[in-house]
Assembly symmetry: C2
Homo-oligomer: 342 residues x 2
Amino acid sequence: MKLKDLAEQLGLSQTTVSRALNGYPEVNKATRERVAQAAQKFGYSANANARRLAIGRVGAIGILMPRDRSQRFGPHTSEFFSGLAERLSLDEMDLLMSPVVNNDELGAYRRLISSKRVDGIIVTGPTLMDERVAMLIEAKFPFVLHGRTNIQAPHAWLDIDNAGAFRQATSHLIDIGHRRIAMIDGHKGHTFSEHRETGYREALLERRIPVDPRFIAHEHFSDETGFHEAQRLLSYDPHPTAILAGSMMTALGVFRAIRSKGYELGKEVSVIAHDDVFPYLNASNMVPAMTTTRSSIRSAGSRIAELLVQIIDGEPVENIHEIWPVELILRQSSGPPVPPRR
Amino acid sequence: MKLKDLAEQLGLSQTTVSRALNGYPEVNKATRERVAQAAQKFGYSANANARRLAIGRVGAIGILMPRDRSQRFGPHTSEFFSGLAERLSLDEMDLLMSPVVNNDELGAYRRLISSKRVDGIIVTGPTLMDERVAMLIEAKFPFVLHGRTNIQAPHAWLDIDNAGAFRQATSHLIDIGHRRIAMIDGHKGHTFSEHRETGYREALLERRIPVDPRFIAHEHFSDETGFHEAQRLLSYDPHPTAILAGSMMTALGVFRAIRSKGYELGKEVSVIAHDDVFPYLNASNMVPAMTTTRSSIRSAGSRIAELLVQIIDGEPVENIHEIWPVELILRQSSGPPVPPRR
DNA sequence: GCATAAATTCAAAGCGCTTTGAATGAAACA
DNA sequence: TGTTTCATTCAAAGCGCTTTGAATTTATGC
């Protein structure tokens, strides 16, 4: 059933029916009701493509499948998506996930824009001089970046305070007596990873504790890499008395490594993990409960969707920058260093 | 830049340019080249909405945000999506995620169909008499179901052998001497959950071991529920000597509960988990390595995307039914029951 | 009771593409 | 050379909607 048919059924013009359905004021109330009922009855709903063509707006925002396979759809991505989806549903907006073909990421962004399949784009996991961001700015296409870059031209972004999180965690560990502190985080090049390392270094520097490069690891987030890196770290003599883990998955592996070496968690070796708040993996439920720097990636997604919709509606991009603070939540996996038993 | 502009630039008609771009044979080779070059140069790419309106095809498949919040975008969903996305990229198809508004799920499906935003739909997490499936069959809209229902009318589906997986795991446990075996799985009502329970019961029945209803738990998949349910199970006297966990997350909680009670995993209490193969959570890396029934949910997603594309291309739906076998992989978390050390 | 304003409704144009049916020019045939 | 055929190209119609500008009906003021 199309608009024409519906209009004929009702003995009205397409114009009136269209207006009735779209809530225009110049339609008689009785007529509007009648139209609504008929639409309901016949299960009519406008052909989205015709509608979009006519109004020049899509009602969807896009996101490209994250570039490297390892990052693609990790648990972080899915939590983030969940936040996006939740917010977008309020505006009845769709979320379009488009693949990167031929590994031509920039081209994929360009095509997504010029084919008018989406009203705006969300960019995640940026590097410091992210070329996708540069391109989108240049193209003047609405987008919001999750994370930050060093690119100066105005654009909208939302990021958490990664440097602050790791600075705070590191300082805390120093405060309670640790001197050999290691970190296992995500791959270098990504802004969040660089920022975290910066925070970590700043905290050490402030207390004049030298940075031991062996104590810094960059890997993707999984229990496996957490395990391997922690094993490596603990094999040094003296080994670190505290480990910062970039994600909950990493932390699971770190826990495992500490146990398998026979150390007591939270005593001989402390662990602080960054927690993106996964509904199915709760830091306070671990044994021992895990000390974390916490920030909900889902909430970030939700807010980003909101911002993008605002931008699409014409909000100027200049002032849309948010840095979210990260909470340090002390639990049992961290404590003053205790010399090894034995 | 639109087709008209591009055509004018080239001194050609829109017809010819369109045909050149879409690979029609009746275009001079030299012309085709020239057009391709110009398109590249001007960054032209057809307005997707106009194109779709004209050809009546969208180039996207849809999926609605899973219904209940708990299930929405768990780690399973994201792995599944990942598989879908991977396969769809081969066909340059988009994946459209549409929200369910006002909690009107069926209405959301109807609107998705009648608004012609997608060429086909993927349905997940069905119940035994899933109304969405019934509706889609009725509407004759292309779709593939991940899972199964008891609905008889022909429709395409792909499922793993959930009953077989749990039957096999249970039988194995019985074989090595267990008599009190518990299961913690997903919510009742979902087909996969019912099938698993069926498999479990069949295995017990076959050996004439009575089913203890206290030993069956249905909860959503998270480490927290795994922990709580396992705690409950282990508080019975006598307690189960083996626990089947419906997901890796659940298993993490179960591990924790067993340890916190002071039992030795794989001896006093065995655990077998169903593993959907998460790249960031590896069963063989746990300590002890976890015995699992394994089936990749990502591969399932990939295959389902493939099937849906075939259906959209006209493949009849009658014969598209796949049941994937599930492997039981023995590792250290299961073994013959050992009487508690005092 | 008539002119004017306000409330409704409508016909037709346009969104940017594909595709039908016709036109053109070149090559092949007789 | 005139006629066919084939290879290319084109003009125009149509996809289903929104929206402009005009037409009609109804309400209001004097």
